[in-house]
């Protein structure tokens, strides 16, 4: 699971109001290099919740992102490289996503989060 996906995921348990962002418990993080596309990054920058993204990157052991960001930074290659790396190249391979409200853990195995709910959570 990429941090892009983490930024789009919320706890789906019935009754939970503040289900975003899910806290990351990282057991294994892998890096996979992919080609950079500036247009993609610019589009995604507008959609990303930056605070959640930075916190998630820390949980994944990557600490190079600025705590605050605005769109003027997209002109900097250095910023784009870091943004690209954290958004698309870091993968949570094993671990869990934790609901910020209830503490319920959603396991992540082989890079795949399991968001299926128990009967009493739907």
């Amino acid at each position: 699971m990429r941090l892009l996906t983490h930024n789009m995921l919320s706890s789906n348990i019935k009754g939970v109001v503040n289900g975003f962002p899910l806290r990351i418990e990282a057991e294994k993080v892998v890096e996979k290099t992919v080609e950079m596309n500036g247009e993609f990054l610019k589009k995604m920058f507008e959609k990303i919740d930056w605070k959640a993204f930075v916190d998630a990157s820390w949980a994944m052991g990557y600490t190079e992102l600025p705590e605050e960001a605005d769109s003027s930074m997209l002109d900097s290659d250095e910023f784009l490289n870091r943004f690209h790396h954290a958004l698309l190249e870091l993968h949570l391979e094993e671990g869990a996503l934790v609901c910020p409200e209830t503490g319920r853990r959603f396991p992540v195995n082989k890079g795949i989060p399991n968001m299926l709910l128990h009967e009493d959570e739907v």
């Binding site: 996906t5 993609f40 968001m115 299926l116 709910l117």
Partner: protein
């Protein structure tokens, strides 16, 4: 770069992984991929950023889509979900065998994504469980959930449509497999009320079933009000397919009579 050209344009069956509890690529899967190939030029010009599949099964479709449209270098990210954890694992293996990637989530339709992914999906593909079955077979574990569609095969379809409406971007397209028994003209009417135009991209009859791959897109110029819904004019223009049309109407009226 030379090797790029040699990539297959769609997923290869011999590289598609499998599991006894996971739906194998079948006529419906092939018809959906054929629809994507038939619409390939439009899709390329569409420049999607996020593409999504609901119910990815073996991964045959999402892998083919990634091969058709390209990956990160093209600025495209893929997301696929399935309610069956085995299916998602198999999809991962199928993607890897083809050297492509997608973000995978085990979930019911798009549960967990509906808040933050709202309005972001440019292309959605769905081959839903569409076979008419008793309602209590829907959503049970394993392979049954790959085809069991409840009454008229519509149980899961009717839950997917509002989610698709929510997740699709303004320019978003949805490609969905339907069976004649699902009453596709009624599905199109329902989507029409949400502001979508539709057309059949691929139509295919096999021994057991008649499949339609329908493409939906937001028809922004034509906000629909209820009075415009004169079904005959709408269906007539939409499906300029004589025999098929009368067959659908036939089913509709038969169902009405039954009720």
């Amino acid at each position: 770069m030379a090797s790029y050209k040699e990539l297959p344009r769609t997923a290869q069956i011999r590289l598609v992984s499998s599991h006894q509890e996971v739906y194998e690529p079948c006529d419906d899967s092939f018809a959906l991929v054929d629809a994507l190939l038939a619409d390939r030029n439009n899709l390329l010009e569409h420049h999607p950023t996020l593409c999504m599949e609901i119910g990815c099964g073996s991964g045959y479709v999402i892998t083919s889509l990634a091969l058709i449209l390209g990956q990160e270098a093209s600025g495209i990210n893929y997301i696929a979900t399935d309610i069956n954890p085995h299916a998602v694992k198999v999809t991962r293996e199928t993607l890897e065998a083809h050297g492509v990637g997608a973000e995978l989530i085990v979930t019911d339709i798009a549960s967990g994504l509906e808040e933050r992914l709202t309005g972001l999906v440019d292309v959605m593909v769905v081959n839903p469980p569409y076979v008419p079955t008793p309602e209590d077979e829907v959503g049970v574990h394993g392979i049954t959930s790959s085809w069991a569609g409840g009454e008229n095969g519509r149980s899961v379809i009717d839950r997917i449509l509002p989610v698709a409406d929510r997740l699709l971007s303004e320019k978003g397209w949805l490609y969905m497999v339907t069976l004649t028994a699902n009453n596709p003209s009624e599905i199109c009417n329902q989507m029409r009320k949400k502001g979508y135009a539709s057309k059949i991209v691929v139509q295919r009859s096999t021994e057991e079933e008649s499949l339609h791959i329908i493409k939906f897109w937001r028809d922004l110029d034509k906000e629909v009000n209820e009075s415009d819904q004169s079904a005959s004019g709408f269906i007539g223009s939409l499906f300029a397919l004589g025999p098929l049309l009368s067959y659908w109407r036939g089913t509709t009226s038969k169902q009405k009579q039954q009720k």
